[in-house]
């Protein structure tokens, strides 16, 4: 723990980049003004499987302003080296324009480049592609599963689940279907690529500048140091920008072939084709329990979709293994390769889908046994991680439920289904556990303290809207003993000290710990300079007895004795001091580390119209130390909104006759609007977890969405007596 006073961390700071954003000065990927830039528009396949038999570009190329059309017919040279620093999946990533094979509906088959966006769009609509279409398979429920388990997953068993089920007092045998969801960030994916000789600069929407840098170097067969990726602002991503998708390559390829910088922004429709999605699931869960509600067995048999060229995996096994004290567990995951593009982790990946199943099943069990749903969960609280026998670093789920139940008024609830009405509306309340891993990654940072007493701190991390600029500024300010105003944090540039992808809720922990380490080193360097300087009032003081506050170094407990950074640097003729620090998680932790949440929901259901309206929600979180309360609240609200979408609205619809996605727009793919969002409350338990991280944080960004959908589904059951084991819960399921 830092010896420094913590003035900035924990303060409800507004976003330091808020003004830039609301005044339109924050530059997102497509906003950068690059001299001589021209525009690229992708032509997508209109079949899901088959061969391209011809591409007629004559009309397109005849348009004024069109500079070229590129497709596999041009045999563009791309190296596609192996790349380990990538979120690609086992298999082989899609190679753009390298052959005539169509692997999914909406696959890029050509790109048009023109001097204006309008000319490029129009010309793209004039490219005539002919196909030899084959019958495609896109329906998870019909496709055969691949032999063997998904990558990085193997069938799991402890105890003997079959035997335990056979002798259980109470058994549940349940089947679930979860729809495919798309991330749908507000900002569509965009890339600007510019070549200077054999050096490539890319402005990109990415949650991993280092990953995109590595991928472009591998695809184009150039040295890593020849590629620079910039991503200073991101308008939401939710996971969709965790890998460099084909359009990033296409932009750079087009720039190389045309010899001009190229800007390529996907259309909203194209956001449903090539930038990943949360896969559809079919999930069978069996539960065995004693009459008193002690779980004896749980079996998970499920399958989910992936493409034919990559085997997608996500963390859909952990909850089944560690959430409750179940002695007998078996898990049998499978993937179904289909004529679809590859999924990609979407907020709370794997955990969100498995939590829906486990947490609605727990609710069913509670009703079957006549035990309060919270009480049932508490009866199955493990004392240690049941999958690894490791102690928990912290696990305060009990406290989450206790605090939440009181704040939500849980005890006032009549547990009987259909027991509460408000006019025509049936009212129900539901609860669910949320839980997400504490992922940790290696990160580095650099900090420089200038003679004017201000500091610039940087790391190649990202701000997808989560507020990294702000939270890192807070950590740096306290470690350096500066006010927030005198610290600038920079990110989103592959030339900066490396940081992990901004995914899996690891940024605050990993980059935050690196920033703290870096700024601690820098502060200690300044203190050393002072105590060894005969002209300093701090000369001869034990460095451990010096703290810095408001840019002034002084003796702990004797604020009068000290001097400012400015005085110190000026006297020593130093224009700046700098430090480079890092965070490296220990190889193997002795602890089981997770964030926890208790989610509460109240819904109103008009059973005659099949309408569900969420009336209020409360989340209580055990997320470790909260660096930035306003951002944390904002994350929680966003997580609840995302969860409401997944529970009631979101569903990517495919016409399985030809693999066409029929609702590839925001009018037909429904995300919640303001009118759907009621009173949402977030409570973070005070506390910290220094076993998880030097700065005491756990994980937060995924956690806040995990238990939302099951809490809503459980509330719908309480309101109506109807158990819906499908997502989203739509009118037709309730009529």
């Amino acid at each position: 723990m830092s010896p420094q006073p913590q003035a900035a961390v924990g303060a409800p700071l507004s976003r330091v980049d808020g003004r830039l954003k609301v005044t339109g000065q924050a530059k997102y990927a497509a906003d950068h003004d690059i001299d001589g830039v021209v525009h690229a528009v992708v032509v997508d396949s209109s079949i899901a499987r088959g061969r391209i038999t011809g591409i007629d570009t004559r009309d397109a190329e005849a348009q004024r302003g069109v500079l070229g059309v590129i497709s596999h017919l041009d045999k563009p040279r791309l190296t596609y080296r192996q790349n380990q620093v990538s979120n690609a999946f086992p298999g082989e990533r899609l190679h753009v324009f390298q052959d005539d094979t169509v692997r999914f509906f909406g696959q890029p088959v050509a790109v048009v480049v023109a001097t204006t966006l309008e000319a490029a769009e129009h010309a793209a609509s004039l490219v005539k592609v002919s196909y030899d279409a084959e019958e495609s398979a896109t329906d998870l429920t019909r496709g055969p599963a691949q032999d063997g388990p998904p990558p990085f997953a193997r069938p799991y068993a402890r105890g003997n689940a079959e035997e335990a089920l056979g002798s259980a007092d109470v058994r549940l045998d349940l089947a679930y279907r979860l729809s495919r969801n798309h991330h749908n960030p507000m900002e569509t994916h965009a890339t600007i690529a510019r070549w200077d000789g054999d050096k490539l600069t890319v402005w990109d929407k990415t949650q991993w500048v280092i990953g995109t840098q590595n991928e472009l170097a591998a695809v184009f067969g150039i040295p890593l140091e020849n590629v620079r990726v910039l991503s200073p602002f991101i308008g939401g991503a939710f996971g969709s920008a965790l890998r460099a998708w084909p359009h990033v390559t296409i932009a750079a390829l087009a720039a190389r072939e045309i010899g001009r910088p190229v800007k390529l922004a996907l259309t909203r429709r194209q956001m449903y084709f090539t930038v990943g999605y949360r896969p559809a699931y079919e999930y069978k869960l069996r539960l065995g329990s004693t009459r008193r509600g002690r779980l004896t067995a749980m079996t998970h048999d499920f399958k989910y979709e992936t493409s034919r060229y990559e085997q997608f995996w996500e963390a859909n096994l952990a909850l089944g293994q560690m959430l409750y004290a179940v002695p007998n567990v078996s898990q049998n995951p499978q993937i179904v390769p289909l004529d679809v593009s590859t999924p990609l982790w979407m907020r709370g990946p794997g955990y969100g889908s498995s939590a829906f199943v486990i947490e609605t099943a727990m609710d069913e069990l509670a009703y079957k046994l006549g035990i309060d749903p919270i009480e049932l969960r508490l009866r199955n609280e493990p004392g240690e991680d049941p999958s690894t026998q490791q102690p928990f670093s912290t696990r305060r789920l009990r406290e989450c439920f206790r605090v939440g139940a009181r704040a939500f008024g849980w005890r006032r609830r009549d547990p009987r289904p259909r027991s509460t009405r408000d006019g025509d509306w049936l009212i129900g309340t539901g609860v669910a556990t949320g839980c997400y891993d504490v992922f940790r990654g290696q990160a580095q940072a650099h900090a420089r303290l200038d003679a004017d007493g201000t500091a610039v701190v940087q790391s190649a991390t990202h701000d997808t809207g989560t507020g990294t600029y702000t939270s890192m500024t807070q950590v740096a300010a306290d470690a350096l003993g500066l006010t927030v105003r005198n610290v600038t944090f920079r990110l989103g540039d592959s030339a900066m000290p490396p940081a992990p992808a901004q995914g899996a809720s690891q940024t605050m922990l990993s980059v935050g710990s690196a920033v703290q380490d870096t700024c601690d080193m820098l502060r200690e360097q300044a203190i050393k300079l002072a105590v060894e300087d005969e002209r300093s009032p701090l000369h001869g003081v034990d460095p451990d007895d010096v703290v810095v506050r408001g840019g002034r170094l002084h003796v702990k407990g004797d604020p009068a004795r000290g001097e400012t950074y400015r005085q110190l640097l000026a006297r020593n003729n130093r224009t700046y001091l700098e430090a480079r620090g890092s965070y490296t998680p220990e190889e193997e932790s002795r602890f089981s580390m997770y964030g926890y949440a208790a989610m509460f929901a109240e819904v109103a259901v008009d059973a005659r119209l099949g309408l569900v309206r969420v009336r209020r929600m409360l989340g209580v979180y055990d997320a470790g130390r909260i660096i930035s309360p306003k951002l944390a609240e904002s994350q929680a609200v966003g997580g609840m909104v995302g969860g409401i979408g997944a529970a009631l609205l979101e569903h990517t619809v495919t016409d399985h006759r030809d693999g066409r996605i029929v609702n590839a727009n925001l009018a037909d793919y429904l995300v919640p609007v303001n009118a759907d969002i009621p009173d949402l409350k977030a409570v973070y338990l005070d506390g910290e977890d220094y076993k998880a991280a030097p700065i005491g944080v756990k994980s937060l960004g995924e956690l806040v969405q995990i238990g939302v959908a099951p809490a809503i589904a459980n509330a719908v059951f309480h309101a109506t007596g109807r158990r819906v084991r499908e997502l989203p819960i739509t009118a037709e399921a309730l009529l």
Binding site: S125, L609, L648, D655, R660, V662, D668, A731, E732
Partner: protein
């Protein structure tokens, strides 16, 4: 977007000349521009009619209402006369689209809206409405939001307008001005069922312009309302909707005007429901009994059988109570 030429009509005569020459009229543009961007619509010439003097809402001599074709949806919804005489129209408008769209879109444009059928809006899919003879991808495709009434094997797309459902219920007429002069068409005849020509959507002659929509005077007092059922609470087209207006005197329903939206290829007038209601005293039993007739003749598709249940639920009649 395909290239097009743009002209702005300074007066009605200029507009009609341009329309007769094949120009497409544009006012708010909230549908047409969208569809042009998707290359679903490819007009060679668009004629901007927003300067024409069609922005008035008038109470007619008989006590009905005449709403100019260029009145914005938001203006019509907020208009005191509309609110007082026909709440069903205000409600239908305010439950449509978004505030931004309602501030742009006009009443004439609203009833000219084209379907939200996703196959219609995807130029790589088969659609008889967009490309006659290419087939109907929705008939055996994904058709949860499609029509169950007034369909044909060539088209099952719904008409998307909410306001048109209110106009249909209230038996409005459409005033048209064409090269051959003025004429009026009953609303029920203005929007066409698809039959074998789903590309023909309105009973408009070449170059004809909508000048206003007239709501006839109805006996007072008139209670009316609009109920819209959809998955989310704003910015979505109706899964099912109902426009109901009742004239109740002495505890008895003397007049009933009822139509449903989101279920028909055109806004669907429900005369059988009206007949059930007239002469009866309002009650939950009556609403239930009347609503049982709402889905008469329905032909549900694979994914939209639930629309029959929604229609037959007591909700449609209930909304006026």
């Amino acid at each position: 977007m395909h290239p097009f030429s743009y002209t702005r009509a300074a007066n009605t005569r200029q507009a009609l000349d341009a329309g007769r020459a094949g120009g497409r009229y544009i006012a708010g543009g909230t549908t047409l521009v969208d569809l042009m961007r998707e290359t679903v619509e490819r007009p060679r010439t668009i004629v901007d009619i927003s300067a024409l003097p069609l922005r008035e809402i008038m109470v007619t001599r008989r006590g009905g209402l005449r709403i100019g074709a260029l009145v914005r949806m938001s203006e019509a919804a907020a208009h005191r006369g509309v609110r007082a005489l026909y709440p069903v129209i205000s409600q239908a408008l305010e439950l449509s689209a978004s505030a931004q769209l309602r501030n742009m879109a006009t009443i004439g444009g609203n009833i000219m809206q084209r379907t939200r059928c996703t196959y219609f809006r995807d130029v790589t899919a088969a659609c008889n409405k967009r490309e006659p003879g290419s087939g109907c991808a929705a008939l055996h495709g994904v058709n949860r939001t499609h029509a169950i009434l007034g369909t044909s094997d060539d088209c099952v797309a719904t008409h998307p307008s909410d306001a048109a459902v209110a106009f249909t219920a209230l038996e409005a007429t459409v005033h048209l001005l064409g090269p051959d002069g003025e004429r009026t068409v009953p609303f029920a005849d203005f929007l066409l069922r698809p039959g074998s020509t789903p590309n023909r959507e309105q009973a408009l002659r070449k170059g004809e312009l909508i000048t206003s929509v007239e709501i006839p005077a109805l006996p007072r007092p008139l209670q009316s309302g609009y109920l819209k059922v959809r998955d989310r609470q704003s910015y979505e087209f109706a899964l099912t909707s109902a426009a109901v207006a009742l004239h109740i005197r002495g505890g008895v329903i003397h007049e009933a005007k009822v139509a449903a939206g989101g279920v028909g290829t055109v806004p669907w007038k429900l005369p059988a429901v009206e007949r059930e209601l007239i002469g009866q005293r309002p009650s939950n039993v009556l609403w239930t009994k009347a609503a049982e007739r709402a889905a008469d003749g329905a032909r549900p598709l694979r994914h939209n059988r639930f629309k029959v249940e929604l229609l037959n639920g007591p909700s449609s009649a209930n909304c006026a109570s």
